[in-house]
Amino acid sequence: MQTNFFRKIIFDEKSRSLLIQTLVIGLFALFIYLITQQTAYNLEKRGISSGFDFLHISAGYDISIRLIPFTSEDTHLRAYFVGLLNTLMIAVCGCFLATIIGFLVGIIRLSSNWLFRNIAYVYVEFTRNVPVLVQIILYYSILLNLPKIKQAIVIFDNFYLTNRGFFSPSPIFKDGFSIVAWSLVIAIIFAFFLKRFLKKKQEESGKQYPTFMINSAIIIFTPIIFYYIMGMPLEFDSPVLKGFNFKGGMVIRPEFLGMLFGLSIYTAAFISETVRSGIISVSKGQREASQALGLKSNFIMRLIIIPQALRVIIPPLTSQYLNLTKNSSLGIAIGYADLVHGFGGISLNQTGRAIEIMMMVMLTYLTISLTISFFMNLYNKSVQFKGNA
């Protein structure tokens, strides 16, 4: 009976592979366990304290680029969230801008205009083959050479361009502005349903409606009408030069702009290649068939080519988004207060908790990346061939 049991484990393919897999996982778990133990032992032996208590002591330093209030009395944990939000901000803005530039350049590269085509070609080859860090530092250095604060370039009276950032008036929302904001939301929802309704009608009758124009008008004019009905509940706080710096208003810092330009211009070059290959991948017959049907050329692009190209574009586009997000950690080079710079740099140095902090930073990037992948995969599924075809 017992020999049978072992015989079965060793000679049966299924249970044998199960055994081996269990062993491998067990060894791996043991390895992790030993490393953790050894780390704890070595840290203790060297008199280095460890643990996550430091998260609740005050950080003691200030962060200028932030989306939520932060003072030196706030905790390291809050500094973590400030950094996380800055990382997400640059990632979102960067992906957005990179996508727009990337799609434009990708399409231009297939243009029949020799000049445009080759300008796009030079752009792609240049930015793609220079390290992104070098580009970030280049753009940042250029921004630092803008006029000094006292000699700011004035645009439309209330906007100022200096090497300390781009200063603009900030909106002050007064009572009743929320109604204007809600009217915009409702207009968008209405436009969405209107589009579906008109599309259905078009499918039934074959008559075309200027859906885009109608919806644009709805979305733009509804809030404007409500804005005047509510008695213009919006004021602006203009920046004024007082002492060393501008007071009031809003500012976009050169560190943010340097990162934004560097990351998006670099990543856009890759995205444009993805877009180009996606468009080329759509078989020539599709274009010829649509031309034969008498479709206008921008209709061909929008309705026939792009939807099919997206199937090819989305998976590599996802990996470009991931690259951009991870590259945002280069903010450390120009002092952009992202997760690695603030929490992973300054907090690390003040507290000496290198392992704990780096673990947290790593897990955070992992989470962000997996989230991006998850949503991009969902989107990818939605653009793939439907049905059994």
Binding site: G47, Y61, N163
Partner: protein
């Protein structure tokens, strides 16, 4: 690239610490002797304190402490390999054992001494945090800096002092964090910030390198205590003693008037402390596990504290720093070494 690299190194080193089985039982002193040279963590480049000169040889008062230790251990002050460290990775590099000692304008604080597993062995420069501004701003006191943009090196005590100072005086500021001294210089001279703050010694060193040093003024306020000194790993007291007394030997050398020029004559001095220091009265070297002429080697090859100071950062150098607090206790400063007996 250095920032990314240094961050990477710090990560790898910390992980390395954990993976390396605790095998380094040998004392640092034995390890150094076996290797034949001293691994000394220095600044990446701070004129007068630790920076390579035109010929690529490291110089400065921090570097002189490394040289003194090498002179004490090997009898040859040149047997040092310098490992440039940023403010961010310096402690990790020391903890992991890549260097034997850190002599790199590092402030001695409680948490670093206790929490980071380090041992500060003394103070070779009493410093304090100051502010430098362009003269054209017409600022004469740090109390007038409300609303200014301030360039600051990250990973230092300076950040916290800055936050405290502005908060305590009810002023606001924009912090512009930079990674190294040279980046701070670039941002400050480009006008990205109005103020550059770091240890006053660092401000003087930076200013000396600007195209027009006289256009910049270091404000009178010193907002912190920054005792800068060499550090070693915690738990190896014999090695800590060697580094501590190498520094003390330079200070005592000045106190007793022993210079690199007269050290041979002083061997025939009548002062018993001089004779003990120079090893004419034998026995003191052995207590440290060194040869009896260890302090003689330091003073003849490196010189005393005053010589080091005058050569690298004194009034006759571009750095132009007065002795001030760093004068001997009997000359009005607070530099004081325990007696050599």
């Amino acid at each position: 690239m250095t920032k990314i690299k240094s961050l990477f190194i710090s990560l790898v080193l910390t992980l390395g610490v954990s993976i390396a089985i605790a095998g380094s039982h040998g004392s640092t002193h034995d390890l150094v002797k076996e290797r034949g040279k001293l691994m000394c963590g220095s600044n990446t480049g701070l004129a007068g304190f630790g920076a390579p000169n035109d010929a690529g040889v490291w110089e400065g008062i921090d570097v002189d402490v490394c040289r003194a230790v090498a002179a004490a251990v090997f009898g040859d002050a040149s047997k040092v390999e310098y490992v440039p460290t940023t403010s961010k990775v310096r402690f990790t590099v020391l903890q992991s054992g890549e260097i034997d000692m850190l002599s790199r304008n590092t402030t001695w604080t409680l948490s670093r001494d206790v929490d980071l597993g380090l041992e500060f062995v003394g103070v070779n420069y009493y410093d304090g945090q100051g502010f430098m501004v362009n003269k054209s701003l017409g600022v004469s006191s740090a109390m007038e800096l409300d609303g200014a943009s301030v360039c600051i090196q990250v990973g230092t005590t300076t950040e916290m002092n800055l936050a405290d100072f502005f908060k305590a005086n009810g002023m606001s500021y924009e912090s512009v964090p930079v990674e190294t001294n040279s980046e701070a210089d670039a941002a400050y001279t480009a006008g990205r910030c109005d103020v550059y703050t770091t240890d006053a010694s660092g401000l003087y060193a930076s200013r000396a390198g600007y195209p027009d040093p006289s256009a910049h003024v270091v404000l009178p306020e010193i907002v912190s205590k920054e005792p800068l000194g060499p550090a070693v790993r915690h738990g190896d007291s014999e090695w800590a003693d060697i580094v501590r007394w190498s520094l003390n030997a330079m200070i005592i050398g000045e106190e007793l008037g022993i210079t690199s020029a007269n050290v041979d004559e002083m061997k025939s001095s009548k002062n018993p402390e001089v004779l003990r220091l120079l090893g004419v009265d034998a026995g003191y070297g052995a207590m440290l596990g060194l040869s009896d002429d260890w302090a003689y080697n330091i003073l003849s090859q490196v010189g005393n504290y005053s010589e080091s100071f005058e050569k690298h950062i004194g009034p006759n150098t571009p750095i132009n720093i007065q002795r001030g607090l760093n004068a001997l206790y009997k000359d009005g400063g607070i530099l004081y070494a325990p007696p050599f007996r």
